[in-house]
Structure formats: structure tokens, C-alpha cells
Subunit: 289 residues, 2 copies
């Protein structure tokens, strides 16, 4: 089956898509991206993802030359024509092609593209648990920008896999020093402590996750106290429940961390309740067809 890609306004077969060698996405990581979940043939939280894309682009001073609603329409059309039922849209914008030079060039047309990948339909809350390993947070200090400069994340994720774990959690200030938990390789980090939902504030060190923001909203709706504050590694490991969230993962409870079982290795009540509420929100926006 032909894999299609939308690129600068045209839908073409993936194997005909050509990125220029001097695309600044390839030579400078000069770009930003989004991953959007599709449920039942509908993109979930599309407007929030596009708003973040524009924020990320502004963070690297990239002017997208398309209107957000035009891009949204192109994505919806692509999903419909491609018959995507359960999957994701991967969307990337780079500065475009220019002779190699660090400084941002003027008058260059950005490269904008997206394509879809299939995913399994969503699993019932509490079905998927993950194990974490701690790694030092060596990333740059503008993590609120969802940039393609992901090499630190690649190395951390690979370290996790090699340690037999599923995901790496970044510790700012060092693992041995019990530094501060910021977020994971490709997900946000949450702890439930004394009935409150605790997560690091977004900003220099933490991406404003779309699922993260939804979960804080849903928690408030359930009268669960929300605390956006740093936790040390030692504090977080003593939490009653630990989970991670992302667009693709939704919520995964954490059953082990650095080889030690967490919270009996089972999903806790707050984790389950929030995941059920998230599914409710998804079903409202993407009703079963």
C-alpha cells in the first residue's frame, strides 16, 4: 500500500518525498514538530497541538507560512482520504533550504510536512505499565520548544531500552545527587502524593504536554489537588502512584523505577480515575463511528 505524505501543500507518495541536503532541519536541527493522535478517524486535540506548534515556531523565530485553520483542514482531509482510523499524524516544520550558515536566513520558505502512522486502538485504563530508569538531564534549557534537536532524548531512550526499561526520566542536577525530576524522554512525569497530583512546572526544563494539560484540567474537575512543583528523585520514588503521559501513550502507570518496584507494581486509583476521565474526553471529541 502506498504511504502518502503531505509536503508544502502537496500530497505525494512518501518514497518520492525529497528533503534537500541543505534543509536546515537536516544540518542544524532547525525545526519543530508535533505528534497528533487520531481516534476513530478524528484528530484529537488538534487545535491545542497546532497552537503549541505555533508557540514552538515562535520560540525559534520560525514563521510558518500557512494559516493554522488551513493546516488543520489539510490534516483532516489527509486523514479522511487516507482512511486513517487509529493512528497518529507526525508533523514537522523546518526553516527550509539555504546555503549552510548558522544564522537564520531571510526569505527562505519553510519545509512543512506531515504523514500518518497506524497505532493500536486505545487500551483500557491501567492495562499498560512501564518501567523507568533515571538519567541525568543534559538537555538544553528551552525544553518548552518542541524542537527536533532530540539527540539527548535519543541517547536517554536508548539507555533505557538497554537497561531493560521502557522510558528514561530526566533528573536535573544528577541522579546520584537526587536532583529534580523534570520529565521523561518523550512523556511528562506525574506523581500522586497524599492525594495530590504533582508534576514539574512547564518551561525551561519541561514541555507543555497537551495530555499533561488535559490531565491537570481533569484532576481539578475531580477535586484532586494539583501541585506544579519540582520533586527530587528521592521524593518522587516515595510517591503513592507514579505515571507518565503523552499523546501516543495517554497514561502509562509506572510499575518499576531503576529496578525497584513502585506502588506494588499496579496502577493506583488516581491514575485509573484520570485515565478514565481522559477516555471520556477523547470519546466526546472523537465519537465511535
Amino acid at each position: 500500500m502506498t504511504q502518502w505524505i503531505w509536503m508544502n501543500g502537496q500530497t505525494i507518495p512518501m518514497d518520492q518525498a525529497r528533503i534537500g541536503v541543505e534543509d536546515r532541519g537536516f544540518q542544524f536541527a532547525d525545526g519543530v514538530y508535533e505528534v497528533i493522535r487520531v481516534y476513530e478517524g478524528q484528530p484529537f486535540a488538534l487545535n491545542a497541538h497546532l497552537a503549541r506548534l505555533w508557540n514552538s515556531a515562535a520560540g525559534i523565530r520560525l514563521n510558518l507560512t500557512i494559516a493554522a485553520d488551513e493546516l488543520a483542514a489539510a490534516i483532516r482531509k489527509f486523514i479522511e482520504l487516507g482512511g486513517v482510523r487509529e493512528g497518529m499524524i507526525y508533523l514537522q516544520a523546518t526553516r527550509g533550504v539555504a546555503p549552510r550558515n548558522h544564522a537564520i536566513p531571510e526569505g527562505v520558505q519553510p519545509t512543512l510536512l506531515f504523514y500518518s502512522r497506524p497505532l493500536e486502538p486505545m487500551a483500557a485504563p491501567g492495562q499498560v505499565g512501564v518501567s523507568l530508569i533515571s538519567v541525568e538531564d543534559e538537555r538544553w534549557k528551552r525544553c518548552w520548544v518542541k524542537s527536533i534537536a532530540l539527540l539527548p532524548n535519543v541517547l536517554a531512550k536508548t539507555a533505557a531500552i538497554e537497561a531493560g526499561a521502557d522510558e528514561a526520566v530526566f533528573v536535573d542536577g544528577g541522579v546520584m545527587q537526587s536532583g529534580v525530576i523534570t520529565e521523561c524522554c518523550a512523556s511528562n512525569f506525574f506523581a500522586v502524593m497524599n492525594g495530590a497530583l504533582v508534576t514539574h512546572p512547564v518551561g525551561a526544563r519541561v514541555l507543555p504536554g497537551i495530555t499533561r494539560a488535559l490531565l491537570l484540567d481533569l484532576a481539578r474537575g475531580q477535586n484532586i489537588p494539583v501541585q506544579e512543583r519540582p520533586l527530587t528523585l528521592a521524593q518522587a520514588k516515595g510517591a503513592d502512584e507514579v505515571f507518565i503521559s503523552s499523546t501516543v501513550r495517554e497514561i502509562n502507570f509506572v510499575h518499576a523505577w531503576d529496578g525497584v518496584r513502585i506502588a506494588d507494581g499496579r496502577p493506583g486509583p488516581v491514575t485509573l480515575s484520570l485515565h478514565r476521565a481522559l477516555h471520556g474526553r477523547i470519546r466526546e471529541e472523537c465519537p465511535m463511528g
Copy 2:
């Protein structure tokens, strides 16, 4: 005139070169690079550049599937066939094409490419001065890897240009706090203080510059004391001479920094002496044809 590129063993026209959308260099900044200067049709310090390429690759666990001497031969042949007299070779290696997933994939062929760009012949020592601005060092902590995750450098360089300066110098710990000078956007930083040559040690924060290493060697040959130690911003601004070095720049003296004139705005004697020695070394390796 056709622009050529060497890509995975084949020399093809640049406009026919195609980077795959899922090349990990484009989606994850999962790659490393080198810039090699060509003088009089000869690559300068080629072995040192290739040794660093292999070190950088090891730093991101990228296995290059070509032998260094085979790559060196291909570069020399490319320079010869292309008639490159004064210029540079831009060389990049990425993890290759794989379905998007953070973890390093197995069994994927790296993407390896290089091409040339013309440059002006070298200017006489002391002819080119530059102005600097200070920016906070927000980069990741493995700067000894010459990775393509250059977005922080892009933003810093652009800030320099917009401030009317030529290059940005990174300050670890903050500019207002007079943190430590590490290096510049695309060059190493040197100060001459009480007759000694001072520069930050290489490692987490500083790339092992090829020209940097040569200059330390040449300084020792001239009995100039070499001190690899951190300097604060305030200390460095009080230096007798300030200069930056890179493969493309060789040595540029610094005449202004954050809008203030440095060392009377002229190249100092140690700067000039080292630049002359560097030219001597270049002429030994790349004799005039």
C-alpha cells in the same frame, strides 16, 4: 556549474541528492559533522578531523561503516576531480533512515555525505577582527560531540547578527552573573593574560577544536604558557588580547565585545604570532601549487 555531492559512496549532482523524510538526521538531529578546510587543493588536518568524526560518532554510538582511510581517499579524490583550490568540505554522518522511534535502531545503514564550498584564500594574520556578544550557554552537556543538534547555536548566532556583532560567546551560569566563558557559537575562545594563553578545557561544555589544539601546540613551541582553565566573563573582558579560532576562521582577533572595545581594537602580539605560526603549519601541509 554542477554542484556535486558524495553520498554513501556515490558522487552525484547535488540537486539529485535526496534525504529521506525519516532520516534520523532530519527527525532527531541524530548525527555528527565536520568542516575541513582546503588550501591550494589540499585538505588541511584531514586526519585530525576524521579522528574527531569517529570520536563524535562513538559519543552518539554511531557506527560508521567505512574505514577512515577509505573516506580520506574519497575526500581527496573529490577535491581533485572537483578542482577545489580554496574552500571547505562539509561532511555529515547520520544514523540513517528508520521508522520514527527515539531509540537507536539496529541494522540501519548510516547516511554519510560530503560536498565542497568555495572560500576566499587565507587573509594575512591580523586582517580580520570580529565583535562578540555574550549569551547564556543553554546548550546540552556533551559539547565535545560535534553533533548536528545545533539549534541553540543557530539562535545564539542570530542574536549576535541582530545585535550588530559577528559571533556569540557562550557564558555558562549567566551573562549578568558573570558566569564562565565556554566557547563561541562556531569557534573556540582564547584570552591572552599576563603573557599566557588561556582557554576553557574541552569536554562537556567545549568542543575539542582542531585549530584550538594546533594553537596550543604552536604556543608551547613558542614558549607561551598555556593554561586550560575557566575564566569568568569579567576576567576574560580584562584580558590583554582576545581571539577566536575555527577551521574556517583560522584566527580572528576580537576588537569589541558587548559593544565595548577590547585591547584598543587591534590584534595583539601573541595573537599575531600564533596566526603566523598557524600559516606556517598550513603551508607545510598544503604547499602553494
